[in-house]
Amino acid sequence: MEKFVSLEISFVKKHYFKHILLALLFAILSGAVVSFKNLNELQSARVMEMYVSILGIILFTPLFMPEQDREIWRLEQSKKLSVVNLYILRILTAVIFLLATVSIFIIIMRQNNCEFPVLKLWIFSVCEILFLGSIGFFVSAVTNQVVLGYMAAIMYYMINFGATEYLKKLALFQVMRLGKYDFWYYMLAVSVLLFAAGISIREIRSKK
């Protein structure tokens, strides 16, 4: 376990730190871009779904950044250490940042007199952001190209501006458009599936 933790710290320091900084910058800039005062339910959801959801792309897509260098990837494969555990630890780190950031946004909005069901919006936001992030994660995992991961996640986000009806239960912006919260479990399930599939396919490919 100690070894995993030290590897995770090294990953954060050398590769992930810049992305965390970017996420922090994104959160800090929100004050200038978005209002957190006196919002109603749909307006609060708009902040979480259109603005905060981008954090999913920033936090989860670059988790395979070190392995962009194939030599590092091969070196990892040659060790006895389980790379699956390593990847899971990276996901957990990103999830912790995600939970913290979403909670901070929710608290700020509540303190500024916004009216919305706190727990519902918190759960939905976490699942929606996780889902968007898992798309980037999955594509970068199976292709080992982080750029493609960003492309898939950003395109999915953008396509939701005009084609939500085709995406059914996996469409983004459901709360701000329809006031519906009941899609969160689909998004959570698909996220878990994409994280698991991403790691599994990557592992199978790397052993060929």
Partner: protein, 393 residues
């Protein structure tokens, strides 16, 4: 084989190219299905119809009426809606600012604020100013409220809509037949949809291309080639631009077919070149600038940061727009999200040309910057890994 064709072949073999085609075609076809309802717009309006749709008005009196009603209501509840970056932002004024606002309303209506409030429900504001003075007063109001309010000149002039009359509808119809030749109006809508995706997609091509040598650990080998930096960067850049534009052009040619058939069936001569012309003027410069920016930033940083820069730029351009129809300025994402409006488009078309020419010029500058950075990196690479060979491949 020239470097350009080698680059094109590389792109043809890349996964990103096929993902782009799938995303682009799916997006365009879901947005722009050529459904019967749209094609029915070719039908001539008939007198006595219940409604003929809405049009944006440029009538100063209608604009003033609408805006004055709005500003009185927002002052009454002391809550001003603004969209400084496309996201809703509520502004509440303090006592002093409210007094200033009430003074401005007095200048607009000639009525004291206390009198307005005392019978607010029945109050119909008289507008007692000339349009130029009205704009000055509203500019003062915008200074108090801040950026992105409904009282900015462009916002008022682009968003005040009124119902169309039969005559308006006929005029619109005639323009569609005689000026747009049917396909023109659909070509603008095609560009409006495509321009959104093309504000971001080329950045992935640019970043992928610029990082490919490093991923393949081939930088040193390429640095040592005798071919000039300008030739390497320009052929890579041109190949990416061409390979992104080709699927766009092919999609445009296919998409236009049902509209040409419908026009011909209705006895209207369609403009066969409209989709190509609009795509070249509207979409190609955007592909050029986004690709050029991705090259420059990726060569400079050696990382993926161009993706974030481009995402922010594209998003800000989309969300900060006060209208989805025209008002081109120097926006990256230029919109025309409506069918028809040929006269209005022709009045603004020079602004579109200036906008697109500006981005073509900027693309050239950014490609030159990329060449410069690449040359410096090559020299540095030569210093680190050995001399650049002077001759032969």
């Amino acid at each position: 084989m020239s470097l350009f064709s080698k680059e094109c072949k590389q792109i043809l073999k890349s996964l990103i190219f096929y993902i782009f085609i799938v995303i682009f075609v799916l997006y365009i076809t879901t947005q722009f299905g050529g459904d019967a309802e749209d094609i029915n717009l070719i039908n001539k309006p008939e007198a006595g119809q219940e409604e003929y749709g809405y049009k944006i008005t440029d009538n100063p009196e209608e604009i003033m009426d609408y805006a004055v009603n709005g500003i009185i209501y927002e002052t009454y509840i002391n809550s001003y809606s603004t969209y400084p970056f496309g996201f809703y932002k509520e502004i509440k004024l303090n006592e002093n600012e409210l007094q200033d606002m009430e003074e401005l309303i007095y200048r607009l209506t000639g009525d004291k604020w206390d009198d307005i409030v005392s019978d607010y429900d029945n109050y119909i504001p008289p507008v007692k100013t000339e349009y130029s003075e009205f704009l000055e007063i509203m500019a003062d109001a915008c200074e108090i409220i801040g950026k992105g309010s409904s009282y900015e000149k462009e916002e008022m002039e682009n968003h005040t809509t009124v119902p169309m009359t039969y005559e308006d509808a006929m005029e619109e119809y005639e323009s569609m037949i005689n000026k747009d030749h049917v396909t023109g109006t659909y070509a603008r809508l095609f560009c409006d949809y495509a321009v959104i995706l093309l504000a971001i997609i080329p950045v992935f091509f640019g970043v992928t291309r610029c990082l490919r040598d490093r991923r393949a650990k081939a930088e040193g080998v390429i640095f040592s080639k005798s071919v000039s930096s300008a030739k390497i960067i320009i052929s890579r850049y041109m190949a990416n631009v061409v390979m992104i534009f080709l699927p766009v052009l092919i999609t445009a040619l296919i998409i236009q077919i049902p509209y040409i058939y419908s026009a011909e069936a209705a006895g209207i001569s369609a403009d066969y070149m409209a989709f190509i012309r609009y795509s070249v003027i509207w979409l190609l410069p955007e592909i050029m600038i986004v690709t050029a920016l991705s090259f420059a930033v990726t060569e400079l940083t050696g990382g993926i940061w161009a993706i974030f820069i481009q995402f922010v730029w594209a998003f800000a351009s989309m969300l900060s727009s006060s209208t989805l129809v025209g008002d081109f300025g120097l926006k990256l994402v230029v919109r025309w999200n409506t069918l028809g409006g040929a006269d209005s488009y022709l009045r603004q078309v020079n602004d579109l040309y200036i906008n697109r020419a500006f981005y073509v010029g900027l693309s050239v500058v950014l490609v030159a910057v990329s060449i410069l950075i690449y040359s410096v990196k090559r020299k540095k690479g030569a210093a680190e890994h050995g001399k650049i060979r002077k001759s032969g491949n």
